[in-house]
Amino acid sequence: MSDVLDPATETRADTDDLERRRAQEKRLREVWATPGGWRYWTSVNNTDIGVWYASAAFLFMLFAGVLALLVRTQLAVPDNDFLSADLFNQAFTLHGTVMMFLFAVPIFESFAIFVLPGMLGTRELPFPRLSAFGFWSFAIGGVFVCGSILFNAAPSAGWFMYPPLATNKEQIGIGADIWLLGLSFIEVASLAAAVELIVGIMKFRAPGMRVNMMPLFAWYLLIVAGMILFAFPPLIAGDLLFELQRLFDWPFFDPARGGDPLLWQHLFWIFGHPEVYIVFLPAIALMAMIVPTFAQRPIVGYSWIVLAAVGTGFLSFGLWVHHMFTTGLPAISLAFFSAASEAVAIPTGVQIFVFIATLLAGRVIFSVPMLFGAGGLVIFVIGGLTGVMVAIAPFDWQAHDTYFIVAHLHYVLIGGMLFPIVAGLYYYFPLISGKLLSDRLGKIAFWLMFTGFNIGFFPMHLTGLRGMPRRVFTYPPDMGFDWLNLVSTIGAFVFASGILVIVVDVVWPRKKQPKAPINPWDAGTLEWLTAPDENWGMRSIPEIRTRYPLWQEKTLRREVDEGRWYLPDAEEGHREALMTSVLDGEAQEVFRVPGVSVLPILCAVFLGGAFIAMTFEAWWTTLVCSVIFFGFLMAWIWIGTAQIPEKEKKDIGRGVSLPLYVSGQPSAGWWAMFITMVGDGTAFASLMFGYFFYWTIHADFTAGSEAPGAFWPLTSLALFLAAWALMAVSKRVNTSGRTTLFRLLLMASLALTVAASLAGLAGPWFGGMDPTMHIYPAIVWVIVAWTIAHAAVGVVMQAFCLVASYAGRLTARYDKDIHNVVLYWHFLMVTAAVTFAVIGLFPRMV
């Protein structure tokens, strides 16, 4: 594909060449420019979004940290009245919620958005507007959830919101709704980020970056994004059931009407346990970048790291019941989860040994990032060991809900996540501002945090073993808890002072400080090619031939900076990136990346408005916000996606020419749809899990009801199948150029979908199923409603394709839209088939 430049024989840049280069740079700079004034906030560039995202997550972390200090102050001495019991409940609930949902997960999404394009050697992730939408959703939802405590309305039932306490409107006020709706909104943002990261890592690597050359950070993030895809949807499904109970009294978790609080625990922890690894793996991923740099050698055991990442990713889904060891599940069930909990220690151990081996084999430079990394690993290993202890059910029965667990989870999360994050902050800060953070302050911060942490949290193991339960707002003297709690509080403040030192270091004005060299740590990976003061990412996109290009190809930086590689120009005035194949990174398309736009913000504001209005049961506002959101969303899709290029192919330099429009399976949009629908399918599967869960806990879960019968569900199923078949045929017809027939098929399929949806609703409707009476009508309704809502989205897509066809932007050649819509329809068909076959036939079979 390309010849290697030999710097010795290459003719020195003559004047013409230099002028051409300056002109290219000018055009690139203009195309990638961040707007000025208030429009700065409409930027979608990954470096801007990444920094905003990370700063917001950091601010939320500081806020939640202050809440933790309030909690610790209250617990410093027995019988304290610093906080009231209710405020204490709000403080610890919000502390946990914010740390997990507004800091631990988003901070990694932000790091990834910021640093991944550079690492992969692409100019931008494929859907920058989606990143922007994710950020704004996150910011709005986060401020809403955090702000609630200022109005004494924060959630107060603990960060996992167990019913029946959290479903009881008299005990727990609007805080629970704020938690459910505010976080559901943020979970949508997390899923958006997951889609962005998976497509980015699989399809937007530099040419030649085969899967065996990918930076390990990308491997980890690929796995983590996949985990988000399977872990978050069960929580979204759970939130849906929960909110239906709180708002409309559908009895999903109410035993009096056939419900069961345990279903929530299942759905929550199917999310909650992988979540721990979702925050831990990216931290380890940062270490996998930092350790080789400071050992000044490639990682030892690249494949072993891949084993560990994939293995942990899978096994972490087999652990959720270990949070439910004391709920009276069968002993045999507990044993399966106990076994998987022990097994996950194997891949976790592998990655730690890989780091140790790399350090032993290299020449270690001890720096602030290494200090935080190593300190974090020590803390994490202690947390891992107590984890192995609590994975043993009989021990857990003793330790459950005591401070032992509080100690364990903080050792795991702070060692496995916060310390590596700080390491990453010190390591990557030069990429943000071009300047280094202070070495001296970093060391002071580390020792304050490391000692403060251990003084604060180690005694909690003992307090827990002495029997102090978690979440009590005070305790009487002479229980043996007094001095341990006082020590913990002192440690917490020492730890917090360490964080304060970091904050000072980060916000310290650096006007006079000289610029750091562009690769200050002498790292080997591609992200250090990017110049912090340019928005274009890479000046030109190189072909990759090694795992550590900056170490192993000495002339690469110059070649890239002189624009001697691919896409060195932006003649047509578009932001562009290269789309490549999954396995071997062969260049496939010049992908036009969407640029600056106010639409993501508008979408986030109105979707956020809809969620917030729903919390206050302001239905009209909800409706208005939803309609406006829908309008902006359609505008975004219409003007921002599947644009027809002005020419078929484009020369990207070095004699390579690539198409500007690719549809179907190789395209980025197709992958995004596929990945989104996998997540969507997981949420649907979680609802079906609920259906069968109720079947297992009752002798007759229908409570004698005959509804919805078999007739209407099976009719609906047949109509859905017909609509789907027409969609599949229409795609072929469109490809063959028979436009009129294509439009007729679309219209027919649309009509069939509407009929299918009405038939679907007819079953429970004519059966007189009242969802507030009993769990059976409630779960049937929710599953049917889920399917019909998806059919409605399908109808919108069909209408969109029709309009696009009439407008001439969907043709036989330019057919991205219909490919992606048909893909959606495959998933819709499976959803409808499962829904109606199960609700129509299953009650008859048992």
Binding site: M202, G208, R210, V211, N212, M213, P298, G301, Y302, S303, W304, V306, L307, V310, G311, G313, F314, L315, F317, G318, L329, P330, A331, I332, S333, A335, F336, F337, S338, A339, A340, E342, A343, I346, P347, I544, R545, T546, R547, V582, L583, D584, T696, I697, A699
Partner: protein, 128 residues
């Protein structure tokens, strides 16, 4: 073309996940199978022996599948003739890397399946 006992090598990323996916299915089966039995045992005609037997059969199937996947991975890795790190910019090196990583994952999955099945050897009732 005659009948092949071993399938040809396929060019895809997804084979990497074979072992863990088999573990996941096996794990889910064990959990669901035992949970349904324990919830519905009053209405069922068979005892726990049947449950444990079912898990035993499922475990043997899972282990055979993981081992077969592992063998294919070993073949993709060229039966260990080449040593890691497999970091060359060639299709060969990429294939060897995939084979080796898949082999490692198969080994982990094998152990994890055994771990999951072990409790059924010892636990003889839903609630002892």
């Amino acid at each position: 073309m005659g009948f092949r006992i071993l399938p040809k090598e396929i060019e895809t990323l997804w084979t990497l996940f074979t072992g863990p996916a088999i573990w996941a299915v096996h794990f889910l089966f064990c959990y669901v199978w035992a949970a349904i039995y324990c919830a519905k045992r009053d209405q069922l005609q068979f005892g726990m022996v049947f449950v444990r037997g079912g898990i035993g059969v499922a475990t043997v199937i899972a282990l055979v599948l993981v081992a077969a996947g592992g063998y294919l991975a070993w073949r993709q890795w060229g039966f260990g003739v080449n040593n890691p790190p497999h970091n060359k910019p060639t299709e060969d090196s990429r294939t060897l890397f995939q084979g080796f990583s898949t082999l490692l994952l198969s080994a982990l999955s094998f152990v994890a399946v055994v771990f999951t099945a072990l409790p059924t050897l010892f636990i003889q009732a839903c609630w002892p």
